[in-house]
Symmetry: C2
Subunit: 385 residues, 2 copies
C-alpha cells in the first residue's frame, strides 16, 4: 500500500504517513474498577469511591500493537468493554489500521442508532486512542510529535482539579496547601452545596490559601438553575475566578448565555458534551470562553482534535477534562494550548510513568505512542470484566 493516509475531517489535515500498518486483526477490551483513597464528592454525581478504566488492545496483521483506554466515574465500564468486544470489534476488524479517521466515521455511522453520544463515545474513544498508539509506535514518534505541525511544546499550563465538595475549613485549606507543596500553582474547587453561603465561604477560603495571582476556578457540575447560577456567580466575582464550569445543565445551551451575560466570570464546559455536534451547539449558543473536551468521552483523540479545530475557528481556548496523562500531549500539539486539568482520578498511578510537574507546568512526555503505558501488574487485581 505504502500510501499516505489523510486523517480526514480533522479540520487540520496532517498526514498520517504510513508504510502500511496492516489490517486490524484483533481487538480486546478489559474493565478495571479502581478504588479511590478517599471518597470524592461533587454536586451531580454524589460520592465517588471508585473509578473505572477500560483498556482496548489492538493488533494489526503487520505485528503492530496499540493500547487505548477510556475511564468512567465508576459506572458504565463493563458495558463499554462489552460494546467494544462485540459491535465495535465487528466493524474494526479487517480495516487498515492506519485509516483512523475512516474507522472513526464508520463506528459513528454504523452504530448511530444506539449511539449519538452516550456509551458509544467512550467505547470509540478507547479504540481510537489505541489506534493512535499503534500508529505513533509504528512511526516511532510520540503522539505530541505526530500531531504537531512543528515541534510540540515541552510543557503546558496546568491546574489541579479538586473533587472536594465534602471538605470545609481546615481540611479544605490543607488540601490546597498540599497541592501547593506538590508544585501546583492553580486549582479548581467544586461548588453546589444546598446553602450558597457555604459555597461562597469555601471559595473565599481557597482564594486566601492560594493567594492573589494564582488561578482559581469553580465547578458546579450543573447543580444550579440559571437564576441561582447568576446569583452565585455575582457572589464570587470579588475572588478573581478564572472560570465558572458547568453552572447549569449541559443540555441548556441557551441558559449558559443568560448566565454569561449576567456575570464577568468566563464560563467553561465540555466534559458532558460527547458529540462534536454538541460542541458546535455550545459554540453557537452558550457564550463560553473555554471548551473542555475530554478525549475519553468525545470519541478519542480524533474527536478531541475536531473540537480543538472548532475552538480555534471560534477563537476559544481548549482546556481539558480528566486523563491528564494523555491530554498533556494533545494540548502540547496545539499552536495555542489552553490549560490542562490534573484530575482527581489517578489513572497514572496505574501507569509506568506519572505526569510530572516542573515549575508549576505539566511536562510533556516524549515516549513513543500515546505516552501512557499501563502497569498491568497494578491493574490486574481490579479487573471486573
Amino acid at each position: 500500500m505504502a500510501s499516505v493516509m489523510e486523517a480526514r475531517n480533522l479540520g487540520r489535515s496532517f498526514a498520517l504517513e504510513s508504510s502500511d500498518l496492516g489490517k486490524i486483526n484483533s481487538v480486546q477490551a478489559e474493565c478495571y474498577r479502581l478504588p479511590l483513597e478517599e471518597a470524592l464528592v461533587d454536586a451531580a454525581h454524589g460520592e465517588h469511591k471508585f473509578f473505572e478504566v477500560v483498556v482496548c488492545r489492538i493488533a494489526s496483521s503487520k505485528g503492530y500493537e496499540g493500547v487505548g483506554y477510556t475511564y468512567t466515574g465508576g459506572k458504565g465500564g463493563r458495558a463499554i468493554a462489552e460494546f467494544i468486544r462485540t459491535d465495535l470489534s465487528d466493524i474494526a476488524i479487517g480495516q487498515p489500521a492506519s485509516d483512523i479517521a475512516g474507522i472513526w466515521n464508520k463506528l459513528q455511522t454504523k452504530l448511530h442508532y444506539v449511539g449519538r453520544g452516550g456509551l458509544l463515545s467512550f467505547a470509540i474513544a478507547a479504540m481510537d486512542i489505541g489506534l493512535w498508539d499503534l500508529a505513533a509506535k509504528a512511526l516511532d514518534k510520540s503522539i505530541a510529535a505526530l500531531l504537531s505541525h512543528g515541534a510540540p511544546a515541552t510543557d503546558v499550563e496546568t491546574y489541579v482539579g479538586f473533587i472536594d465538595l465534602q471538605l470545609d475549613g481546615d481540611s479544605l485549606a490543607q488540601l490546597a496547601e498540599r497541592a501547593l507543596e506538590r508544585g501546583f500553582v492553580a486549582a479548581k474547587t467544586k461548588v453546589g452545596r444546598d446553602a450558597m453561603a457555604e459555597d461562597v465561604s469555601r471559595v473565599a477560603l481557597l482564594r486566601s490559601v492560594l493567594g492573589a495571582g494564582r488561578d482559581l476556578m469553580v465547578d458546579a457540575n450543573f447543580a444550579f438553575d440559571v437564576e441561582r447560577a447568576i446569583k452565585f456567580s455575582q457572589s464570587i466575582e470579588e475572588f478573581d475566578i478564572k472560570w465558572f464550569e458547568e453552572p447549569i445543565s449541559p443540555d441548556d445551551f441557551e441558559g449558559y448565555a443568560s448566565v454569561a451575560k449576567a456575570t464577568n466570570i468566563p464560563l467553561a464546559m465540555g466534559e458532558n458534551l460527547h458529540l462534536v455536534e454538541e460542541f458546535e451547539r455550545a459554540i453557537r449558543y452558550s457564550k463560553l470562553t473555554y471548551l473542555q473536551p475530554d478525549a475519553s468521552n468525545i470519541g478519542g483523540i480524533t474527536g478531541w482534535l475536531k473540537v480543538a479545530e472548532m475552538a480555534k475557528n471560534a477563537d476559544l481556548k481548549v482546556c481539558t477534562h480528566g486523563m491528564h496523562e494523555l491530554h498533556v500531549s494533545l494540548l502540547a500539539s496545539l499552536e495555542e494550548p489552553g490549560c490542562l486539568e490534573f484530575h482527581s482520578f489517578p489513572i497514572d498511578q496505574y501507569a509506568t510513568h506519572r505526569l510530572e510537574l516542573k515549575d508549576g507546568r505539566a511536562v510533556v512526555p516524549d515516549r513513543k505512542g500515546i505516552g501512557v503505558e499501563f502497569d498491568f501488574n497494578l491493574l490486574k487485581p481490579h479487573r471486573v470484566s
Copy 2:
C-alpha cells in the same frame, strides 16, 4: 406501605395506586439476535439482516414479576444487556417496585456521565417497561387501562412502515399490494437513493398502487442535507404526502425549520431523539408536525409519556416508531392518539399474540400487563448474551 405512589414528573399525574408491590430483588437481562427473512435497506443504516431484542426480567420481594424489553437494528444489544445486568441493576435493586418515576430519575441521574441518551436510553427502556408490566399485572390491568384517564381506545390508526430502499418497480409494487391484502390502508416508504429521480419514481409508483385517499409517507433516514431535502420535498408534493420523516440529520434542529418553511409537506422525527431534552429542542426549533417517540429508546413508557405530554402542550401529534405491539397500547391511552407505525422488525412474531388489524386499524390488546408476552421457546435459539 399501602401508599399511592404518584408517577412523578410525568406531566399528566395519574396515580399508580398500589398496595406495596414490594422491593425489587432481582433484575435479569438477555439479548436475542433475530434474523430477518430478507435483508432490509434504508439510507442511514444500510442493510439489516438481524434485529435484536433485549429482555429485562424484574421480580419484587412480594412475588410480583414483570418483563420489559427494548430492541435494536442489530447492533448494541449485548452491551445494553450488560449495562442492565451491572450498573442499572445495582441502582434498581432494593427500590420500591411501584416507584417507577423515582427509579427512572435515579437511573438518569446516577448514570448521567456515561448516559445522556445513547445506550442508556435503551437500557432504561427495557427496565422501565418491565416495571410497568409488573405494576399493571399486580393491579390486574392492561397498560392501556392503567394509563388512561377514562376507558382507553379499542383501536388506533396505523400504517405499515416499509424498509424497502432496495426495492423497485414490480417488487416494490408487490410489497405494497401485499400490505393492502393484509389490511393496511396506509404506508411509508424509504427514500435517499443517490439518484433523486429514482426516489421520486418510487414514491409515484407507491401512490399509484395505494390509490388516492390512502396515507403515504416518506422517510429519508437523514440521508439529505437541507438543500437536497427541500428539492426532493418539492418534487413529491404532487403525490399528497402525509409527512416527510427525518429528511436531514437529527442533530440539525434548526435545519428542519428551513426545510419546513420551503415545502407544504409536514415534517416528522423522533426515533433518533433519545432524551426528553432533545424533544424539547425539536419542538422549539424544528417546526415539526409529528413527533415520533419510541419507548424502546426514549427511556421506556415513562419517557414516552413525558414526550406525549410535551406534544400535547405544543399542539403536536404523537405518532410512534417501532415496537408496534407495545405502542398500540400507549397510543390508546392518549386523548388524541396519532398514528401507529407497524414496523418491519417483527418483534411480535416472537410473542404469544401478534398485533391484530381490524378495518385497517390496530386492535388494542386488553391482556394484563404491557400486553406483550414473549414466547421464550421461539426466542431461545437466538440468545447471544
